[in-house]
């Protein structure tokens, strides 16, 4: 009984950590621009697929991973520079449609440059399962959780202890005021896209040894990451992490105890219920309307 419970806990936290990383990406870009970047899931796909194909080209795994993250970050920067920045006075809805177009474009490129089949990566450190209180856990699970914790810690430090990080926070609170005190808002927007893409790519690299990737996996991961960001409260980094983990746990326990067919549906039912009672998510700012 306990073994089962722990088993579901770890599988939920593992998927939840990936949702959290994607959700953090959504939150970063939202804070800088109020845009929901629907190409966020494609960054996750690019991280995994790039690593797979760079390794197939003969590169050692660590090099392939680093290169994959860098390539994805460059794609994120390009999306901002070539598309989002070009639109002058476009409404937020228009910008969102542009990111959907970008997502379709990236998927289209991936299906040509890579292929349409599923791929997987070898686990980072073998496959010998570890026994924890009657549950068997693969080492990759610990990698996912460990690296997610490190990233969250690094982001925390970046936002609270570096000038650049503080500039990002300032921009998210009030772009005009930030501009007036000398923050290069344009650059912050660019940085947010690059950082979000890198976060997504890392998530993709971490999860590919556990669940295989192909050019289309980004769609569902994007939806899940968006759900995580909304559930936690849009724009809150802590909220995105909590939302992602919660989402992963709901899915794992629904699959384990109720029905694996309805694990995704249950996640959305919970989100709807939460929103009915807390219209700004779990940790979102209570908004007031300006007339």
């Amino acid at each position: 009984m306990l073994g089962e419970f722990i088993q579901y806990l770890f599988s939920g936290l593992t998927n939840g950590a990936i949702y959290a990383l994607v959700g953090l990406g959504f939150a970063l870009i939202y804070n800088a621009s109020h845009v929901i970047n629907f190409a966020q899931g494609e960054f996750v796909m690019l991280g995994g697929m790039n690593t797979v194909f760079l390794m197939a080209a003969g590169l050692p795994m660590p090099v392939a991973i680093m290169l994959a993250v860098v390539i994805t970050a460059v794609v994120g920067l390009a999306l901002e520079k070539l598309a989002v920045e070009r639109t002058k006075n476009a409404s937020v809805v228009t910008l969102i449609i542009i990111t959907i177009g970008a997502a379709i474009f990236i998927r289209g490129v991936a299906q040509v440059v890579f292929d349409k089949s599923f791929h997987t990566l070898p686990p980072f450190s073998g496959n010998t399962p570890i026994n924890v209180l009657g549950a068997t856990i693969t080492p990759q699970t610990l990698w996912v959780l460990g690296i997610t914790v490190v990233i969250v810690g690094a982001l925390q430090w970046f936002f609270n202890h570096t000038l650049l990080g503080k500039a990002v926070l300032a921009t998210s609170h009030n772009p005009l005021a930030a501009k007036l005190v000398g923050v290069n808002v344009q650059f912050i927007l660019l940085l947010s896209f690059g950082l979000s893409a890198a976060l997504g790519a890392i998530g993709g690299v971490l999860i590919t040894p556990i669940s295989p990737t192909n050019f289309e996996v980004g769609i569902m991961l994007g939806v899940k990451g968006f759900s995580a960001a909304i559930l936690g409260g849009l724009g809150s980094g802590f909220g995105a992490i909590a939302g992602g983990l919660l989402l992963g746990l709901i899915e794992a326990y629904t699959a384990g105890y109720i029905s694996s067919n309805y694990k995704d549906a249950m996640a959305f039912v919970v989100i709807l219920l939460v929103l009915f009672f807390m219209p700004s998510g779990l940790f979102g700012k209570r908004g007031t309307d300006r007339v």
């Binding site: 598309a83 809805v93 177009g101 990236i106 289209g108 769609i219 959305f268």
Partner: protein, 315 residues
């Protein structure tokens, strides 16, 4: 008398009717008829959705769910239980309308991206149920659907369907233009401008938002039913998240708050993939690229942006 006919509303309706009437002269084969029918169906849904997104400023990423519910209700009752298709279509629309009415109040309290999330969740839940309850819906393999018949007369050929789809589109356009020009339409635009301000001057914003949500869901349900009979096949993909997103793209691409923009958006987005099929593997890449370019250079959508250009030229 002449003047009444020359209002933009009437001129537009007339132009649309003429296009629908004359288009068959240009259509050479069943494949082209098929595209025209799909354009008309999609345009009808998008006109309804445009009332919600373009005029009321409320987004929905779940309308394919309503479309799917209507379609599956018709398909199951007609194919498995022998209901008359027209009765099934109307009952389906009533059920979907009621469902939309029930969920509208809690959902439309949400704003912006939270509303997008809630409608997205609702649509996905519907799609998952349709996918999983395969004893009733055939599951992911889909189900075949009986043809549409009224009093023993069966709608079968593409040409017959073309006139049905054209008539539905014309009716939806007429309804939409009238709603927009009525006190309801002015209230809707007030809600879009500022909900608080609208409330202050006495507009019951919730009532209007709910009304439009229900209308757009019913549009989707009716088209869902007809489309299922037309294609004679139905799969959960029709009710899926991506179809919902496609519908929203049609609204924004054609131009928000423009009924004719909705038709243009539907026409382009429905026929473009057909045109691009010769590119095979490059199809999606080019499709995404075109979407981005259109939105970058015509950020208000095709019809309003071009109208703006024409006006500037005229000056």
């Amino acid at each position: 008398m002449m003047r009444a006919f020359l209002t933009p509303r009437f001129a537009g309706m007339l132009a649309l009717a003429v296009i629908i009437a004359l288009l068959p002269a240009l259509l050479q084969n069943n494949f082209q008829y098929d595209i025209a029918i799909r354009v008309a169906f999609n345009a009808t849904v998008v006109i309804g959705l445009n009332l919600l997104i373009g005029y009321t400023g409320q987004i929905s990423l779940g309308h394919a769910g309503f479309l799917g519910l209507g379609a599956y209700f018709s398909a199951i009752t007609v194919t498995n239980f022998g209901w008359p298709p027209l009765v099934a279509l109307i009952v389906a629309a009533l059920i979907v309308g009621t469902l939309a009415f029930v969920v509208a109040r809690p959902i439309l309290r949400l704003k912006g991206h939270y509303l997008a999330m809630a409608t997205l969740g609702l649509g996905i839940i519907i799609a998952i149920i349709l996918n999983q309850e395969s004893w009733l819906t055939g599951g992911p393999d889909g189900m075949s659907v009986a043809p549409f018949s009224i009093g023993g007369y069966e709608l079968y050929t593409q040409k017959q369907w073309y006139w049905v789809a054209g008539a539905i589109l014309l009716f939806a356009t007429w309804l939409s233009l009238n709603i927009i020009d009525s006190p309801v339409g002015r209230a809707l635009r007030a809600v879009h401008g500022s909900e608080v301000a609208a409330e202050v001057v006495g507009v019951d914003t919730t009532r209007f938002k709910v009304l439009v949500f229900v209308i757009s869901a019913v549009f989707a349900s009716v088209v869902g039913s007809l489309h299922a009979h037309y294609v004679m096949f139905l799969s959960p993909i029709d009710a899926g998240f991506f179809h919902s997103v496609e519908l929203v793209i049609m609204v924004v691409l054609g131009g928000m708050a423009s009924t004719f923009g909705a038709i243009v958006g539907a026409a382009i987005l429905t026929s473009l993939p057909q045109v691009l099929t010769f590119l095979e593997d490059y199809e999606h890449m080019i499709f995404g690229l075109i979407m981005m370019l259109v939105m970058i250079f015509l950020p208000k959508g095709i019809v309003p942006s071009l109208q703006g250009l024409l006006k500037r030229e005229a000056k």
